[in-house]
């Protein structure tokens, strides 16, 4: 302590600054960059019976674009009073005296100029066609000089003539808009999780926004650690009792698929390879420590991946490469996050040795891993972190209440996780930068969410 050289003292703030920039970097990448395109979303109107459904449409469109994260929405209060409903409504301004433009009707600069300052405008209208709701949707790049070059999207969407149909049409339109910016809606994705609300820990599922919660398993036992295949057609989980912890696999329709568990005192924390053909898991098969194994999806062709005198669980395969595996190992003393090749070689520790790490979850890009970590805190004080596995730079997304079990939404711009407040654990979603936290479950205790990885 006494012999600290000036050089070391000098380098500490530098290191810290370096870390801070790296963390911001991750946040910016995950939240869609610093300078997101701005979109104006004026309220759409409808003719005849369609008008009654437009509140539902406008609200859903706004939510979906907002959740899509890739665009900023220009504040509605700034919008011009005359809103185009079809491309024909645009009227180029006339050149007046002194070359000053004189407005002839709605024009692109109404939206690109101050005070709206948007890059894009979504507009259109709804009508009833053959008893169905028809939505004529347009997306224009309002920074263009003329209407001919401005059109980015022009499409007609159909839905049932009710509020559900209006919301469905809004989702379709939002999906097409977001796709232009590399984003996606979450509509249609589901979250599988563990709930004890029936009196036993069973697997449940719900819509991405917490709606439509359904019980999936009925074992009256303890079911934990659900894992979905990349195409969401299969779910694997760990079942305790009766007997020793074992791996169970179900189809998306709830049919049980055969999986031969090794004769071991514990088989747990299953994970599918991206092709769905193999399962990685933790087993005590060859000795008294839970180590990592890989087998075919039916349990055949079993192979050992790690061989340590330490507890090793939660192997997770990079969804992009199918090659790298992150996992939790106590081989250094405390549970830390490690990475290896899927053949068990090239093992590397990712966390810095402090605290305990758990629940790694690959970002769909295969570049980042979200996980729970106590970092420098007392045991049990878990927070959600995201690490760039190449640079090992990381960013902390939650603080305070115990937060665990992160799972990425399709598109990788949202996370679902569990948070324990007092004696109750519930599921929450948040944006990948840690903002926009929303509670999704309210009944019993709910934990271990697994978000479907693709969209139907």
């Amino acid at each position: 302590m006494i012999n600290l050289s000036p050089r070391i003292l000098w380098s500490v703030p530098l290191l810290f600054t370096g870390f801070w920039l790296a963390a911001q970097d991750i946040k910016l990448t995950l939240s869609g960059g610093a300078n997101k395109p701005v979109i104006a979303l004026p309220d759409f109107r409808g003719t005849g019976e369609a008008q009654a459904l437009m509140n539902a449409f406008n609200a859903k469109l706004y939510t979906e674009i907002e959740n899509g994260v890739v665009l900023s929405i220009a504040p509605k209060g700034m919008y011009p009073l005359t809103v185009p409903q079809t491309p024909a409504d645009f009227k180029p301004p006339r050149v007046g005296p002194g070359n000053r433009p004189i407005s002839q009707g709605p024009w692109l600069t109404d939206w690109s100029g101050s005070p709206v300052n948007s890059n894009y405008l979504a507009f259109g209208y709804a009508a009833v066609q053959n008893g169905r709701l028809a939505l004529f949707g347009f997306l224009y790049d309002v920074t263009q000089k003329d209407v001919a070059n401005a059109q980015v999207l022009s499409k007609t969407y159909f839905g049932t003539l009710d509020e559900a149909g209006a919301r469905d049409v809004a989702v379709q339109f939002a999906k097409d808009i977001l796709a232009k910016f590399g984003g996606t809606t979450l509509a249609g994705s589901r979250i599988f999780f563990v709930s004890d609300r029936s009196g036993a820990k069973e697997i449940w599922s719900m819509d991405y926004d917490g709606g439509n919660q359904k019980q999936v398993t009925f074992y009256k036992s303890v079911c934990i650690s659900p894992a979905l295949s990349l195409d969401s057609s299969k779910m694997a989980f760990t079942k305790l009792m009766p007997g020793t912890p074992s791996i169970q696999i179900l189809t998306d329709t709830g049919r049980r698929l055969p999986f031969v568990n090794p004769q071991a005192s514990m088989n747990a924390t299953p994970e599918f390879t991206p092709d769905g053909n193999r399962v990685l898991f933790s087993s005590t098969l060859n000795g008294s420590f839970a180590n990592l194994y890989i087998a075919n999806a039916d349990g055949s062709n079993l192979r050992r991946l790690t061989n340590t005198r330490a507890v090793e669980v939660e192997p997770k395969v990079n969804p992009k490469t199918g090659n790298d595996v992150v996992f939790i190992s106590g081989r250094g003393g405390k549970a830390q996050l490690y990475k290896m090749s899927i053949d068990g070689t090239e093992v590397e520790r990712l966390t810095d040795g402090r605290g305990e790490a758990a629940n790694p979850a690959w970002h769909p890009s295969g570049q980042f891993v979200a996980f729970a970590w106590t970092a420098g805190l007392e045991p049990g004080n878990w927070s959600i972190f995201v690490m760039d596995v190449t640079t090992k730079n990381y960013v902390q997304l939650t603080t305070g209440a115990r937060s665990e079990n992160p799972s990425w939404a399709p598109g990788g711009r949202h996370l679902v996780f569990s948070r324990t407040l007092g004696r109750t654990t519930q599921l929450y979603s948040m944006l990948a930068d840690g903002t926009g936290v929303k509670q999704l479950t309210f009944s019993g205790n709910n934990e271990k969410p697994a978000w479907t990885k693709g969209l139907p």
Partner: protein, 262 residues
């Protein structure tokens, strides 16, 4: 198989239903009382009314309990016929299956304008061999009692599966007790359960619980407890015995526990 069983069941149900429908019907079909005959002229001779004649059998005359007997009867010159016990009013001729529980003397009573007549048919019912005596209470209760009385939990440090000094003493006493108990109950197995406190992750704790159970088992086996009578089960942190959030409670949950094997 399933469909056959269901089919059989529905047939049985239909028969039972038909029986229910017929039974009250029979009672209702008691012939109405004979309409009063026209006043008999004093000079006319009174007609001779024959007494009812009865043929009544029960076959076979001796059965084992649970088997059936067939009652057959044919009665003439009667307006009402009944069979007791257990059958009631019947038609003038017919047959009926009965399942008497004990030896029974069936009596048929026929009443007609010419008077009342009875006939009887008896059935001897023999009891089937007595069922095997219910097995004496299995010793598992006592086994489980002895386990909970004589074998104690071994406790562990946070995130550790090494047997602590205080746990060594406990396990040494447990070893003696387990050897005696397992000798007294040669067909029983002891489940060594590994438990953890709630602070670690559920997944890591499954592995840690397995480690704790394994450490305890290895220690006991070194002291001569037969390895094949100790079965390891991890519960991770899924079955805590204490749910407060303080060290006293967490310590209670970081344990190897001994329970009857399943």
């Amino acid at each position: 198989m399933m469909s056959t069983a269901i089919h059989k069941k529905s047939i049985l149900a239909a028969i039972a239903l038909a029986g229910l429908m017929i039974a009250p019907g029979c009672k209702k079909k008691v012939p109405p009382p004979a309409t009063p005959s026209a006043p008999v002229k004093s000079d006319a001779p009174a007609p001779v009314q024959p007494r009812p004649s009865i043929s009544f059998t029960a076959e076979p005359s001796s059965i084992a309990r649970g088997e059936s007997v067939t009652l057959r009867w044919n009665v003439q010159n009667a307006t009402s016929v009944s069979i007791e016990p257990g059958i009631g009013s019947v038609a003038a001729s017919g047959s009926r299956q009965a399942f008497p529980n004990s030896s029974t003397n069936y009596v048929l009573t026929a009443t007609g304008p010419g008077g009342t007549a009875t006939a009887s048919a008896s059935v001897t019912v023999s009891a089937p061999p007595a069922p095997a005596p219910t097995p004496t209470k299995p010793p598992s209760a006592t086994f489980s009692e002895r386990l909970s009385r004589e074998v104690n939990d071994a406790f562990f440090d946070y995130d550790k599966s090494e047997v602590r000094e205080d746990a060594r003493a406990v396990l040494q006493r447990n070893a003696d007790a387990l050897k005696a108990i397992l000798q007294a109950f040669p067909s029983e197995v002891v489940q060594v359960e590994g438990h953890c406190d709630e602070r670690g992750s559920a997944e890591y704790n499954l592995g840690l619980g397995d480690r704790r159970a394994t450490s305890a088992k290895e220690f006991l086996v070194q002291l001569g407890v037969p390895a094949d009578r100790l079965k390891i089960v991890t519960y991770g942190k899924e079955r805590p015995q204490c749910s407060d959030q303080n060290e006293a409670c967490w310590q209670k949950n970081r344990r190897a526990h001994f329970a009857p094997g399943q």
